[in-house]
């Protein structure tokens, strides 16, 4: 299949930096957000073959609480108490809380966790011998405007990875 009506006079992928700046400017916010930007990029290599490696998942979705999270209000739900967390990788959760995140609620949905939390796909990779094992826990990180706070959350996740013998991490933003 091809995307037949792509406008190739412009870049084809969406610039979310441009979109969000224009959207919030139109909404009367006159100071655009300053996104994280680094020239230097760290790079670690696998210590052992992938087929022998334990792989963990990091998500920005949160554990679903049916008592408080039911309903579809178009993203107005906000959880003020979100903190970095660890949860068992198995069984795969049937549902996750995503409504407070800025995904495209007009174009798609998040009812199938496999579309954003690849625990089942990673499990199939383990069964096929492509990776050594799925890590016993996956990790959730709150979406932060504060880049400093994301750094603190990252330190916590790095500690959990060491505790669980994690060799590599697949990170999935919504």
């Amino acid at each position: 299949m091809t995307a037949a009506n792509a406008d190739t006079a412009h870049r084809t992928f969406v610039s979310y930096i441009d979109k969000s700046r224009e959207y919030y400017e139109a909404s009367g916010y006159d100071r655009p957000y300053r996104w994280a930007h680094h020239n230097d990029v760290p790079f670690a290599r696998l210590d052992r073959p992938l087929a022998e490696s334990t792989v963990a998942v990091v998500t920005t979705s949160f554990i679903f609480n049916p008592a408080t999270d039911d309903g579809d209000d178009g993203g107005l739900m906000v959880r003020a108490d979100k903190e970095v967390y660890a949860a068992p990788s198995s069984p795969t959760p049937e549902r996750m809380f995503t409504m407070d995140l800025s995904w495209d609620k007009g174009a798609t949905h998040t009812d199938d966790v496999g579309s954003f939390l690849p625990l089942d796909a990673l499990g199939r990779a383990a069964e096929a011998g492509r990776i050594g094992a799925v890590a016993p826990r996956y990790f959730g990180v709150p979406t932060q405007y504060s880049q400093r706070r994301s750094g603190l959350d990252a330190e916590v996740i790095a500690g959990w990875c060491r505790d669980d013998g994690v060799d590599a991490v697949v990170l999935v933003p919504l």
Binding site: N5, N39, I131
Partner: protein, 120 residues
């Protein structure tokens, strides 16, 4: 914003010696932040590991992520998955749309939000 948060976590893990790959759909945010390995899937935000209820699509993206995890030779490696969301491109224009049809409503909603924040 999710993409920035995850990019910063990936950078931290790499600095600690743990290799990472990000599976995402906001290419500009991830590449601006600067990450070691990134699989870009050109889908609407929300399904970066595949279309809902499409196991084959989901597995293909995860498998590509594992290949990039294993095979990248340098940081800032971006690989775009060949997966296409739909024949229609309309979702790109619709998301966070700003135009003559809604600019007044956006301004009014923003004012109402700021007024509510000032009184709370």
């Amino acid at each position: 914003m999710c993409h920035q948060t995850v990019s910063l976590v990936a950078r931290h893990l790499e600095a600690e010696g743990i290799p990472t790959v990000i599976l995402g759909s906001a290419r500009d945010i991830v590449e601006l932040a600067g990450v070691p390995r990134f699989v870009f899937t050109d889908y609407p935000l929300g399904n970066p590991t595949g279309k809902p209820d499409d196991i084959e699509d989901q597995q293909s993206i995860l498998d590509l992520g594992l290949a990039v995890l294993e095979g990248a030779i340098a940081p800032r490696t971006t690989v775009q998955s060949p997966n296409i969301w739909s024949e229609s491109e309309q979702w790109r224009a619709d998301f966070m749309h700003v135009g003559p049809d809604n600019i007044e409503a956006l301004r009014a909603a923003g004012e109402a939000r700021r007024a509510a924040q000032e009184t709370s």
